[in-house]
Symmetry: C2
Subunit: 136 residues, 2 copies
């Protein structure tokens, strides 16, 4: 049987990711990228934490989370403070503006998820997500 690019999981995953990105950007009103969105929502879930820990909890390496934090700070959604008990650490937390948009982010995220999964029925979505999680 011939090898076909269109049947390879890596290639199809890339396409699915691209489609999700397009849907995300189409609806994005706050000017956030999917990565920035993930970091911001995670801070809302975890509360204040170090930049490094935030990176681990959002699957971003140190160089990536550094840039994401810089841009979220520039946009005013987070604030950065030195950790009083550990001079190595920078404590990342939501700003007042960040607090204010969390509910909006959740509603936005649900809309994006809904549209991305639109081609699948409700029972299919559950099966699909369970299998996809096993590939992480």
């Amino acid at each position: 049987m011939a090898y076909r690019l269109d049947e390879q999981i890596g290639y199809i995953l890339r396409l699915a990711n691209q489609r999700h990105g397009l849907i995300f950007n189409k609806h994005s009103e706050l000017g956030l990228t999917p990565t920035q969105f993930a970091a911001l929502v995670r801070i809302g879930e975890m509360g204040a934490c170090s930049q490094n820990l935030l990176g681990r909890r959002t699957a971003m390496d140190v160089a990536t989370i550094k840039g994401v934090v810089t841009r979220l700070k520039a946009k005013g959604f987070i604030q950065l403070n030195p950790d009083p008990g550990d001079k190595r650490r920078t404590v990342v937390s939501l700003s007042a503006k960040g607090q204010d948009v969390i509910d909006q982010l959740h509603a936005f995220g649900e809309k994006v998820t809904e549209e991305t999964l639109a081609p699948l029925s409700a029972p299919e979505r559950k099966v699909f997500l369970d299998m996809l999680k096993r590939l992480t």
Copy 2:
């Protein structure tokens, strides 16, 4: 029900993509990235074509395919020639070295696919790939 980042399709897709990338790089011997691999395999499937068309058939925009072609050329896997019938076009085709590695690429691709899908049983893989394709 609370919104949870870990349940969002976009976030999980990103994680699955990351895992695939790690598996790909671990086995990569020719120094190719997943994107370069896709472009090279596609040229092998299509034969010679313009740079723009190659981009469309591998889901890369003009700026991305430009860089990928430049690097594949630098690594000696492809050759670039002007199109005799259309002065706008650059014809991209496999070099002798590119021809020589196509079979190796297919075997490599199958190994990466196998390892990426290892957490799923054979029937699950079929169901999963069918659903994932619908999300592209």
